[in-house]
């Protein structure tokens, strides 16, 4: 049984460690904030220029001068700080953010990532994604294991334009988790009821299987 969006977010949240500074992308990654483990304190960065991003504001506290990188209204916390876009990306590019969790269209077996454009469609732009994957210490990618037509999204090589080359550290799909060890993908976990055969069928990328492959009964 494949993981739901919430379960994927929950699994990704297990990568958070106490004291981490974290950037969460738009979409499912945003949900990760709802599953931060107890006893773990993380600081969320928003690349438009804020550390210590708080939750959505109460309706009477909405402030047009306070939005996140997804342009949603947010709130501040007692530890928050604001800075310019240049300072924000100096922080990102300089390797000061511990973890980024981002969505993807395709991932390749060498860690290449494609998540910003589909040729022929209107290109909206990469925003800060290229900077994040190039600069953040650990990049966790979240995506469905296959496209709507069932074709694999974890590939030998991406055929969509890249966001970054050799940048993925951990890939969490709705079916499995792959860890990139020395740049090589290793299947380390399976969603409940999913077996290694099914992953093999639905994956184009070459990968090894961890001897201690973890089979989830349920997400904890």
């Amino acid at each position: 049984m494949a993981w739901s969006r919430e379960e994927i977010a929950q699994r990704a949240a297990q990568e958070l460690q106490d004291g981490f500074y974290v950037n969460l992308g738009i979409g499912i990654p945003t949900l990760v904030a709802n599953y931060i483990p107890e006893n773990v304190q993380v600081t969320l960065e928003s690349e438009n220029g804020m550390l210590g991003m708080g939750p959505f504001p109460y309706p009477d506290q909405v402030d047009p001068d306070l939005i996140n990188a997804g342009k949603q209204t947010i709130s501040e916390l007692p530890q928050s700080s604001y800075f310019s876009s240049a300072d924000s990306f100096a922080m990102i590019r300089g390797g000061h953010i511990d973890l980024a969790i981002l969505g993807a269209m395709q991932v390749a077996q060498n860690g290449d990532l494609a998540n910003w454009m589909i040729p022929g469609k209107m290109i909206k732009g990469m925003g800060g994604a290229m900077d994040l994957v190039a600069g953040v210490n650990k990049v966790v990618i979240i995506m469905d294991h296959t496209a709507k037509d069932g074709s694999p999204k974890f590939l030998k090589a991406c055929n969509l334009p890249l966001t970054g080359s050799d940048v993925t550290d951990l890939l969490i799909t709705n079916l499995a988790v792959f860890e990139f060890q020395d740049g090589q993908p290793v299947l380390i976990e399976l969603a409940p009821g999913v077996d290694a055969e099914e992953i093999k069928e639905k994956t184009e990328a070459e990968y090894t299987v961890c001897p201690k492959l973890k089979r989830h009964l349920h997400i904890q």
């Binding site: 690349e47 939005i67 209204t73 604001y82 876009s85 990102i92 890249l162 970054g164």
Partner: protein, 234 residues
């Protein structure tokens, strides 16, 4: 040297010319120089190259300069929320250069800081790297990006004193401080004009040296693109 101008039109007087390059601060519709953009539209200046992270929405922010076809080229990181943009780009009327957001911010910072080029890992192995110089430092490959300077920078701040010292508010800061440094001429619009000495000199975000003139805007619209709230728990 009185830097305070009566209104946006007066502030723009004498600095506009067709074909010029203009930087405009803001992220989405947050922290954008609303009044200066309207005055820019009313001036009728043509064939502008605009450097700005986004291009507003159809009827607000830089979007209004698309409706009048005053923009020849955009240099941005994301232009998702704009149908007019999409139409003009798809028809070839509008040129577009995408820059990764951090690269764009750093290019402005470099331009203002007299740095003509810097190396970054961002974009290596992607279309962004095509045609750019590659160089290894300690075994890692980086690409050369260049500094950006504009004929005119339009920025939005919260407060200014007579000297043009600026203070920004929350995430409305974004690209404004770096763009303020990278304009041959920089004009700011603010919500509040304070007396000289009202600012703590330790707490000024943009020193007045970067600000040629400023206006005090009124009736700020500040539209919210995505309203997200939580509920009070009883």
């Amino acid at each position: 040297m009185n830097k305070l101008k009566n209104n946006a039109t007066e502030a723009l007087e004498g600095v506009l010319f067709d074909g010029m390059t203009i930087m405009a601060g803001g992220f989405g519709l947050c922290g954008i120089p609303e009044h200066l953009v309207i005055a820019l539209r009313d001036s009728g200046v043509k064939d502008i190259t605009v450097i700005s992270n986004n291009c507003g929405i159809d009827d607000f922010g830089l979007g209004i300069l698309l409706q009048t076809r005053q923009i020849k080229k955009m240099l941005s990181s994301y232009v998702g929320e704009n149908k007019t943009f999409e139409k003009q780009y798809m028809s070839g009327e509008l040129e577009l250069e995408f820059n990764p957001q951090g690269t764009l911010a750093e290019r402005c910072r470099a331009g203002g800081a007299g740095i003509p080029g810097f190396y970054t890992k961002t974009g290596v192995g992607t279309v962004i790297a095509e045609g750019k110089e590659h160089k290894e430092f300690d075994g890692v490959t980086y690409i050369l990006e260049t500094g950006l300077v504009a004929d005119l920078s339009l920025v939005k701040a919260w407060k200014s004193d007579d000297e043009g010292n600026l203070v920004y508010r929350k995430t409305a800061r974004n690209f404004n401080p770096v763009m303020a440094t990278a304009g041959k001429v920089t004009i700011a619009e603010v919500e509040e004009h304070v007396a000289l000495g009202d600012f703590d000199p330790d707490q000024i975000h943009t020193p007045g040296i970067y600000v040629d003139s400023f206006i005090v805007g009124t009736d700020y619209k500040k539209p919210i693109e995505i309203m997200t709230t939580r509920e009070y728990v009883a």
